[in-house]
């Protein structure tokens, strides 16, 4: 899941300082699950802004709505007719959702209310850990299900480096060495031979904006 965190309040307050009528748009998918941008957070952000602007003697009028997913255009249609009453929009969706919202309503300033942080997993309520850097070339089959691109400070596909320090990484004793963990996991599975296999360099050029069309829908895309 994509994990985001609410922007510092001061920053959001500064972003909306020139606007008096603002609509906060939540997203009911990843950011709702990671407790950063669902209906509850829309309400709380609006209340905070209402109080802050009242204290400043510059009241603001705020609306709130949460759509199913801001990264699907179809779900943004329900905002038609609502947008006109507002000077600007705050989006609590991830970077993808914010950009789709901005694309769908190009005449309105769309301001981010969250920082999109990583692709992660949910350890407990409100506790998330980064697990994937979306490198585009998954090596987890060789690394015992532990991602060295995410977990190794150097993102080494073939490790460890000389900085492995007992079980830790040289950057900090609190940072486990990814390749140590990989070794331990593979060793328990009797698959240590796969640590010997050299994983070819990743095509880092793939960091230009990527588009994926699932095979079953290539024809559909071509026909558009």
């Amino acid at each position: 899941m994509i994990v985001a965190e609410r922007k510092p309040f001061e920053e959001i307050k500064a972003l909306v300082k020139d606007f008096n009528r603002v609509l906060t748009v939540g997203c009911g998918t990843c950011v709702a699950v990671c407790l950063a941008g669902g209906e509850k957070e829309v309400g709380i952000l609006n209340t905070e802004l209402t109080i802050a602007r009242k204290v400043d003697g510059n009241p603001i009028e705020l609306g709130g709505v949460t759509v199913e997913r801001q990264c699907d255009m179809e779900f943004l249609d329900e905002l038609d007719g609502m947008i006109d009453q507002y000077d600007a929009l705050i989006s609590l969706a991830c970077g993808a959702g914010i950009q789709f919202l901005a694309e769908r309503f190009p005449d309105k300033p769309v301001l981010p209310g969250v920082n999109t942080t990583f692709i992660g997993a949910n350890r407990d309520v409100g506790w998330y850990e980064e697990k994937c850097r979306a490198c585009g070339n998954c090596c987890l089959g060789l690394t015992g299900g532990i991602c060295p691109v995410t977990m190794c400070a150097k993102s080494l596909f073939n490790g460890p480096c000389g900085g492995t320090n007992h079980e830790s990484c040289e950057i900090s004793p609190d940072q486990p060495c990814a390749w140590h963990m990989i070794y331990e996991r593979l060793s328990k599975q009797n698959r240590l031979d796969s640590i010997i296999e050299i994983f070819p360099p990743n095509d880092w050029l793939n960091t230009t904006p990527r588009t994926i069309v699932q095979p079953a829908y290539k024809e559909r895309k071509a026909a558009r």
Binding site: F9, E10, G28, T29, A32, V33, C34, L35, G38, E39, K40, E41, G43, I44, T47, E48, T50, I51, A52, K54, V55, D56, G57, T66, N122, D124, V125
Partner: protein, 555 residues
């Protein structure tokens, strides 16, 4: 405001089979009692036998009546068709809710899945020898209490005749009444053997339990000598001599006993943490499976339909454990009835359309009342739900509404400003119905001082107080807000008061960010009989607000 609307009830069918975990004395007794009430029982035991013959004296000691009863129980249970005994079997998982649990058991013939309605956990104590703390190794002349019990119950108990026996208790641990009870019953048993001389070296004598004072006096009458010492006596490493200062004679004394018997520490079953994780029940002090919470009546866990009895929940002697068994049988009857029970429909209602299936509710429910089925949406069990609202206040989509305490109803109350004079400072107090709300009624009844414009909003648990309620109250013109919860450890939903306090901390941070004085928001814990505490908490806040002036929303 009416309590739960009874017309909104529905009848549901539930499974009435019961799982009993543990084939010791209490487990067998519970299985028999539940079966006698007309329910089918699955009794699982990790050992290869029931009745604990392998370690016969760990719980019932040298109580002959209990030993006979245990033997009879083993036969009764074996003969009872309604009790399915599975030995060599462990509980692997337990999904679902009361009336509809799906359990998986690992048996010697592979895994087994079963549907059951309720679970009784009856694990045993374990006894840890404390000889190490006395600097002694166990031998023919240095025995643990369990070893002595074994000897006393066996045929070679006469080995002890004409011997001098010294007991050690209360130097290696604080101990408790049950440790003392075991020591005293063993002292009495030893004294009934011809020619024995008994000494008891005691750091403390814990006799605060039925009959212990009498047993202590009886043992003295029969000739036992007690030395109450402040520090552990010096014992030679072979256990052959004990030297100490007699506090009465103030003289150095030396004693050469034939046998030294060392106290044992009574510990919770090693299986408890694993069982607690599988059953999602709370672990209390010492690894016993019940927390120190006044709302946990005997045998109740934090989950409806899962009962903890005897040595599972506390250090207990036999009479108390047997009382637990009876309580568990009553609870089972009360819960399962004839397989058809009537439950409220609106205790907690989930809006499936809004739900984003983040499982925050599942993780936070202190009663384990939420699970999910193959529709991949959470289901809130009306049997298990206690209506505390902890799930609702943390739902990121506001998808859960609590009967009588919906967000809309509470927002209406936050907005209504009563009939107070416009100049009065307005205070909104969210009060847990189990404590602060009652304390507020008491303050009213006794005409204790309260602010003129105090609005009390009753909540089912302080854990229901949504961050949004606190913040919205300020927007709706509250000059001050109080969140009033139960004292630490007293929350009926275990953690509602803690969650409420954390939320107030979070709201303080937010208020600081907005520039509104955070002193306008307070958190207080109360008990239901603290009318004065209620009065002083609200008056204190009013005084703080007088210094701060009215809120910007009232200017």
């Amino acid at each position: 405001m009416s309590e739960m609307i009874l017309s909104d009830m529905e009848e549901i069918k539930i499974n009435t089979d019961v799982l009993v975990v543990g084939g010791g004395y209490t487990g067998l007794k519970a299985a028999k009692g539940i079966s006698d009430s007309g329910y089918s029982v699955v009794l699982i035991e990790s050992d290869t036998i029931i009745g604990g013959e392998k370690n016969p004296l760990s719980f019932i000691g040298i109580d002959v009546t209990a030993q006979d009863e245990l033997k009879r129980l083993v036969d009764d249970v074996a003969a009872d068709d309604a009790v399915n005994v599975l030995m060599n079997t462990r509980l692997v998982s337990a999904a679902g809710v009361p009336g509809d649990f799906t359990i998986r058991l690992a048996t010697s013939d592979g895994d087994l899945e079963k549907k059951i309605g309720a679970i009784v956990v009856a694990t045993n104590f374990s006894n840890k020898p404390l000889s190490g703390a006395y600097g002694l190794s166990l031998s023919d002349s240095v025995l643990t209490l369990s070893q002595l019990e074994y000897l006393l119950s066996g045929s070679d108990r006469d080995r002890l005749s004409n011997k001098t026996i010294a007991f050690m208790v209360g130097f290696a641990q604080e101990g408790d009444a049950l440790v003392m009870e075991r020591i005293l019953s063993n002292v009495l048993a030893v004294e009934s053997i011809g020619g024995c001389t008994t000494y008891v070296f005691a750091g403390n004598l814990k006799v605060a339990s039925d009959g212990l004072e009498r047993a202590y006096l009886e043992s003295r009458d029969k000739g036992a000598t007690y030395f109450k010492l402040k520090t552990m006596p010096t014992i030679s490493p072979d256990g052959e001599s004990i030297s100490f200062i007699d506090p009465v004679l103030r003289k150095k004394m030396e004693l050469s006993p034939d046998v030294i018997v060392i106290e044992e520490e009574i510990l919770a079953d090693e299986m408890n943490p694993l069982l607690a994780a599988i059953l999602r029940i709370d672990v209390g002090p010492g690894g016993f499976l019940q927390t120190d919470n006044i709302h946990r009546f005997p045998v109740q866990s934090n989950r409806e339909g899962i009962f903890v009895i005897g040595g599972t929940r506390d250090v207990q002697n036999i009479p108390t454990a047997l009382m637990d068994v009876e309580n568990a049988v009553l609870e089972i009857n009360h819960l399962l009835k004839d397989g058809k029970i009537v439950v409220p429909k609106n205790k907690a209602v989930l809006d499936i359309g809004k739900c984003t299936f983040c499982i925050t509710c599942y993780r936070l429910c202190p009663h384990g009342a939420i699970y999910w089925d193959n529709t991949n949406k959470p289901v809130i069990s009306p049997v298990a739900c206690q209506g505390c609202g902890i799930c609702a206040s943390d739902c990121p989509m506001d998808a859960i509404q609590i009967g009588n305490y919906s967000d809309a109803e509470i927002m209406d109350k936050i907005k209504s400003n009563g009939s107070a004079a416009p100049d009065d400072l307005r205070i909104v107090a969210f009060c847990c119905q189990n404590s602060a709300y009652e304390a507020g009624l008491m303050a009213d009844a006794f005409q204790m001082e309260t602010p003129a414009n105090l609005q009390v909003i009753k909540v089912p648990c302080a854990g229901k107080v949504d961050l949004d309620y606190i913040m919205k109250a300020f927007v709706e013109g509250a000059d001050g807000v109080l969140v009033m919860a139960c004292h630490p450890g007293n929350c009926k939903s275990e953690k509602g008061n803690t969650y409420a306090e954390w939320r107030v901390v979070d709201a303080h941070r937010m208020l600081e960010e907005t520039g509104l004085e955070k002193e306008r928001l307070g958190f207080v814990t109360l008990a239901s009989n603290m009318g004065i505490g209620f009065s002083s908490a609200v008056v204190d806040l009013e005084n703080r607000l007088k210094a701060l002036g009215t809120s910007p929303f009232n200017k």
